[in-house]
Symmetry: C2
Subunit: 465 residues, 2 copies
């Protein structure tokens, strides 16, 4: 068993330094753990000895009758070393440290605290996530060990008709996130769910006194629930190890999408004081990424679009894109955007044009892009299916404006069937970011939906090749 | 009085060819006209003579007792010429033609129909919007002459706590849209409202048998309610006239933001069959745009970001950006994005650093970007105000993740005050596109808010100069 497995699937958890206040990190942790389906046994460790939510409570870690699988440390930075030692002595093998004030601190004492935690790991072998971590979310088993409000069922349910009971299950999927910034990583997760991406794990590594990006990547490459890994990287401790894992991912057919930050002096400066990481040589990173087919992302939205395409669509056979829209202007704009990225919007084969002609009014465009107009008697999915069969077409894209939304709802099942066929990558863009949440919930399961903009769509499209 | 004024502010409207069905374009038109504050008198013209909603009804245009200011033609393409002639003969000076099937039609008859409409304009001087137009929305006077569902108060109210009664007034502002694609234009409007941009007019010109982009632009340059004009352009009939208007806009201090489509062969092909426009020479367009300070936009989201910046923020004095975040990762990413577009994220003056230091914990970054961390005792607005006073800082940007949203709500009034000061452009990005609608409604009135992504933010930021 990979050593991270016991960290990520704990059967028992201690919250060390839990505040008596029901708000803040303690409250979020307890709310999240209560709301998710798998509920490890919980206990509270707090010098006051006061119980929270009637949970078993102990004044010290040493007083706990049984060792737990995972300790979540909420104590202040200055008290973390003592608490962590106590956990190790109590036989607890995994801990996540949430506090900031370690390698990320301006004062020298921060560096000393970080070194002290490292020493505990070196002395005892206990695995440490953080410090300055936001913990993790294990969606495969339904275990949230994080105080990030973005994982709460209420925060996910708004994308699924407000249904909190099923939100967790519907947010599940084949994409994992490893992040040195908990804020960015959990925001990527929440926004990814909003656009129909499903996730397996989110792991926030923070200052990485022990567990680092590559430990998580290695775990995920062996994980059958994960096909695509998104990584937010400020700096890497072990670039050679990453290269080896990149090669392994390529062989295994798992795709890596990486945002490597710190290109600018200001960002490199900020990365160092954020999680203590050195940004490193950009060219070296690029070379490694190119070699192993890593997709480099420069924008959070683009990153999620690529994740959607890679996890929900089959690979494209070529660069020919068929565009269908009920708005001529939307079709025009999409064609320009796709072409400017090196994709093609070829004229359809005469036989295909004839088939499309029979489906549409005389003022519709039929050569590609296809403008079905507001007066089409058939649904967009039928036209998409027709042009997907054209030998020149490798990818089909449906581009809508807000005026077409109601009609599209009628067409949803057919659109889902087309996408589920997995012969041709099928992409749909909605004109309004406030497209009803219900439609996200009922999204065709294999269709990459959600982006408003042709400019945004074109990026993942090029990555399908 | 500019001739478009009587078109855009009608006191009486006839709906010619209204369907008896309460759904579809007729229903949308009537619903919209009923929902907006200014209600011109309405009548129905339909050969069946059946009344809709109890409105005055006539079998023919000739039977109408009084001429109206504006006729909205919903008759099929083949019947439009006759109806339009009848309107001209009845003394109606303005009409909007919604049907497709004119210059946009594959069959030669479409071209003939378009020519026939042009002849009516030439013979009688009646002003014609369209054909193939989606009409217009006049937000200054509250008159919706369009069947686009995106203008309905219900479609806007979801951005304003669901309050349909005030949605119209809150969507009002200083940005106008002129568009050859109604679908794209009204989608831009709706999405712009979602991110806090306010609008004066949306005008859909379609095939432009008479009224064309430049007529609308000329009207808007004289309009005191409009500061910024967004244009969706597939082709221009009178480029020399546009150049003259571009010069006038520059002199008047009004800003033009233009998406000129048809760069790719597929898009040029589609533009021609969409609205009958010839895409023209890209280099010539670029030269004219550069000469008159026109901002060229390549992405609908970018276009709205620029509109927000130009309409809600003062010009920036220079290229120095101060970044504040409660997420270190978000600050890092924003710094990279800003720098890659030629902006600077300079180290703060030592005096400013000292002031920031006093406000924040020791593990916060204080040099720029400023990471206030989750533990800051002061609100982000206070830190933004502090660094806005630094001589090296010309623009301030607040970057949040979903975890910071609750805290930010406490800080909203201070953020609004900072933005309202209009000394320094103030930009905020939200981590989640599903940020509560209520917060959009309560957006600081002079703050350009709404984008999730640093990559997106950087584009308008460079245009502030």
């Amino acid at each position: 068993m990979n050593s991270l497995a016991s960290m990520l699937t704990p059967k028992s958890i201690a919250i060390v330094g839990a505040s008596r206040k029901r708000t803040g990190p303690t409250g979020m942790l307890l709310d999240a753990l209560a709301a998710y389906p798998s509920t490890p046994s919980l206990c509270i460790v707090n010098p006051s000895g006061e119980s929270i939510d009637g949970l078993p409570t102990f004044r010290t870690v040493a007083e706990m009758p049984d060792a737990v699988d995972l300790a979540l440390l909420l104590v202040p930075a200055a008290a973390t070393e003592t608490a962590a030692r106590a956990c190790a002595e109590r036989g607890i093998h995994n801990m996540a440290v949430f506090s900031a004030g370690f390698a990320d601190d301006r004062e020298a004492v921060g560096t000393e605290r970080q070194a002290a935690l490292g020493q505990i790991h070196a002395d005892t072998g206990v695995r440490i996530l953080g410090p300055n971590s936001q913990g993790f979310l294990n969606l495969v088993d339904g275990i949230p060990a994080t105080f990030s409000p973005s994982v709460m069922p209420a925060a996910l349910a708004r994308y699924f008709d407000g249904d909190e009971a099923t939100a967790f299950a519907r947010a599940k999927g084949k994409v994992a996130i490893i992040t040195q910034s908990g804020g960015v990583g959990f925001a990527l997760f929440n926004r990814g769910v909003a656009r129909g991406v499903g996730f397996s794990y989110v792991i926030s590594t923070g200052n990485e006194v022990d567990i680092e990006l590559n430990d998580c990547l290695e775990f995920l490459l062996d994980d059958v629930h994960t096909d695509v890994v998104l990584m937010y990287v400020e700096g890497m401790h072990q670039p050679a190890r990453f290269a080896a894992l990149g090669a392994r991912a390529q062989t295994a057919g798992k795709r890596l999408v990486i945002a490597k930050l710190g290109r600018s002096p200001a960002a490199a400066r900020a990365a160092f004081s954020h999680t203590g990481h050195i940004a490193g040589d950009e060219h070296a990173y690029d070379a490694v990424f190119r070699r192993y087919g890593v997709v480099r992302a420069y924008d959070p939205d683009e990153m999620l679009d690529v994740a959607a395409a890679l996890s929900l669509c089959p690979p494209a056979r070529g660069r020919g894109v068929g565009v269908v829209s009920a708005s001529g202007g939307s079709a025009v704009w999409m064609s320009d955007a796709l072409t400017s990225l090196g994709l093609e919007v070829p004229v359809l084969h005469p036989d295909t044009q004839e088939l499309v002609r029979q489906q549409l009014p005389t003022f519709a465009s039929i050569v590609n892009p296809v403008d079905i107009t507001g007066a089409a008697a058939v649904g967009a999915a039928q036209v998409l299916a027709t042009i997907a069969a054209d030998p020149a077409i490798d990818i089909v894209v449906l581009s809508t404006t807000i005026a077409n939304v109601a009609r599209l709802d009628d067409d949803r099942a057919a659109l889902g069937a087309l996408a589920a066929d997995r012969t041709t990558p099928t992409c749909a863009t909605w004109a309004s970011r406030y497209f009803p949440a219900s439609s996200v919930a009922r999204r065709p399961s294999r269709c990459s939906c959600g982006r408003a903009s042709p400019w945004s769509t074109r990026r993942p499209a090029t990555r399908w090749r």
